[in-house]
Amino acid sequence: MAEIRLKNVSKIFKDEKVVKDIDITIKDGSFTVIVGPSGCGKSTTLRMIAGLERQTSGEIWIGDDCVNDTEPGKRNIAMVFQNYALYPTMTVRGNIEFGLVNKKIPKEEREKLIQDISEIVGLTEYLDQKPQNLSGGQRQRVALARAMVKKPKVFILDEPLSNLDAKLRGQMRIELIQLHKKLGTTFVYVTHDQVEAMSMGDEIIVLNKGTVQQMDSPMNVYHNPENVFTAEFIGTPAMNIFAYEKVKKHLPPLIGNVGFVGFRPEHALLERMENGSGSMFLRLASKIITMETLGAETIYTVENAAGKMNIKSFIEPFDNIQEITVAIPYEKLYYFDEQGKRNHGAVMERLEPVLVGGAKA
């Protein structure tokens, strides 16, 4: 168990700086999720922590040691790969045992460790199978067992569930959460999947183009994004963000530098044309373009003065209606400056200053 600190870590591939002066501390025992678009440097960051890639500059600390010059095998880190990277020629037992043998742990102790671990992950009866005879979920468990058995200080997981189908993914997600609780080890977890990020992490790191956009708890990242990137990246459908210019006339004057305004799809109300009145709402006359009904919820794509936007509604879908008014409560609006940075200080002039932004956390 250990804290991980990256101090001004950068990585240059050829001429391209893919990780830019990252400076973060991953708390001991936390479940930290790294998210970000493809190619933003998530894997590279993980691989530098694991020692599979050497950082171009900066320092990496695990617990009290600077591991800059420590071989991967000596860092006391276990990694679970996207496609499991199981040794196909070894049995499940062999896979789990391999790291232990390298550590020169005596046979009896190994046996015991394997026994314990395979009970935990429910693989006891498959110990003598080859990985290719196992299902996706079972392989995933082997990968976990292989990582766990080494009792590492840090677990690193790079999109470990992305190759599983939806059902299994849900199941494994829960197992991983429970595993983390049980072990109390630091987990660093990369994913593409919103739901995974939100539901699993204590802490989310949003990465873009090699720089950290925000590092915070899931709720804060969702409700209190620090910039347009995070706001748009987290949440499905994404937060609707539009130029302030386009809605200026529908809003009371604002104090502060505001370039963009946003709101979450689920915070808007849809009203039939007629009853478009009442204050404290940003009201936009809109046209419904498409409507996706997903059982419990319906997602509308609408078009209005501010452009296209998604609205999420939990009420029965409207059929046959085209014209509609979208109403967003003022307190659910987010303000960003021209650079896309959140402007926490922006307030509406004519009202008593309220805390803008929907977040309470």
Partner: protein
């Protein structure tokens, strides 16, 4: 956990670790050389050095045992290209190579399309097909020499059954090279077909289904899908085929000795004959150098084509 407490720790970092690391770094940068060293040593000692020696010999006039070694510059090369026989040898080598490689590949491709099926019967037939490949060229040469006997060979006996008159096979300059080609093709088909079958099996099935849905005829599917998908295999076999054909020796030494009328004399046999029957080491070495140049050119072309033209998944 503040920054100020972290900085001193960096400074206290024990140095030995770093030194240890320097050593491991050097080890890792030397490691690939250590790994290739035994192989490269073997190649240098037994292939590269002899080639150098051969190049040295090619500018001498030497009979191999006499103490006199006259440096004669490029005279051997000049002599070589003035010699009718050498030109014939070049021609024979190219003819033999072209015919052998193209026939082997075409026939084995067709056969592999046919035999690319599962089942015991097919496994057996594939095995039978491959069996000539595992048998010594010495045995094969003896066997075929005898099968191709123009009067008493099984082959002519068989042709006679169909009312075809005797083919002179190895005994006439017009058919001798072709006869050697037949032997080489016969021997090579199994190996080639096996690799083609492997290649065919690695083509994804759904591509064929897509083509079927596109209403593609069998022939067009073959030329537009199968063949291009097989291009790496095709290329591999071509190059291996060319190498082997250039190196043909045993069949010639045993079946024809380069005759009749020099019609089956090829590079390697020619070189061997000149150095050991006619005691013209320098001359033979010059021919060897010519062969080497051709081979090197082929290697270069091979790598260039490989990296450019051939389809890889």
């Amino acid at each position: 956990m503040t920054r100020s407490s972290a900085n001193p720790m960096t400074e206290v970092m024990p140095r030995p670790k770093v030194r240890n690391n320097v050593r491991s770094w050097t080890r890792s940068s030397v490691r690939p050389y250590v790994m290739i060293a035994p192989a490269i040593l073997v190649f240098s000692l037994f292939f590269i050095y002899p080639i150098g020696y051969m190049i040295y010999l090619s500018v001498l006039d030497w009979n191999f045992v006499s103490p006199v070694k006259d440096f004669i510059g490029l005279a051997n090369f000049k002599g070589l290209f003035q010699e009718q026989k050498f030109l014939e040898v070049m021609k024979n080598t190219f003819m033999y190579t072209t015919l052998t490689v193209s026939l082997t590949i075409v026939i084995s491709l067709l056969i592999s399309l046919w035999l690319n099926k599962q089942g015991k019967v097919y496994a057996f037939v594939q095995g039978a097909l491959f069996s000539p490949h595992i048998i010594s060229l010495v045995s094969i040469s003896m066997l075929w020499m005898w099968l191709m006997d123009s009067n008493y060979g099984l082959l002519n006996w068989f042709l006679n059954l169909f009312g075809i008159s005797n083919v002179p096979w190895l005994t006439s300059p017009s058919t001798s090279l072709l006869s050697l080609v037949i032997v080489a093709v016969w021997k090579g088909i199994g190996f080639n077909a096996l690799i083609f079958i492997a290649g065919l099996q690695s083509i994804p099935k759904d591509i064929y289904e897509a083509a079927e849905l596109d209403g593609t005829s069998k022939v067009r599917t073959f030329f537009k899908i199968t063949l291009p998908m097989l291009s790496p295999t095709l290329f591999f076999l071509t190059i291996i085929g060319i190498i082997n054909s250039f190196q043909v020796f045993e069949t010639i030494a045993i079946m024809t000795q380069g005759g009749p009328l020099n019609s089956t004399n090829t590079f390697v046999f020619y070189i061997y004959e000149y150095s050991f029957r006619f005691f013209k080491i320098g001359f033979a070495s010059a021919a060897g150098v010519v062969l080497l140049v051709i081979i090197s050119l082929m290697t270069i072309v091979y790598f260039n084509i490989l990296s450019r033209r051939v389809h890889y998944q």
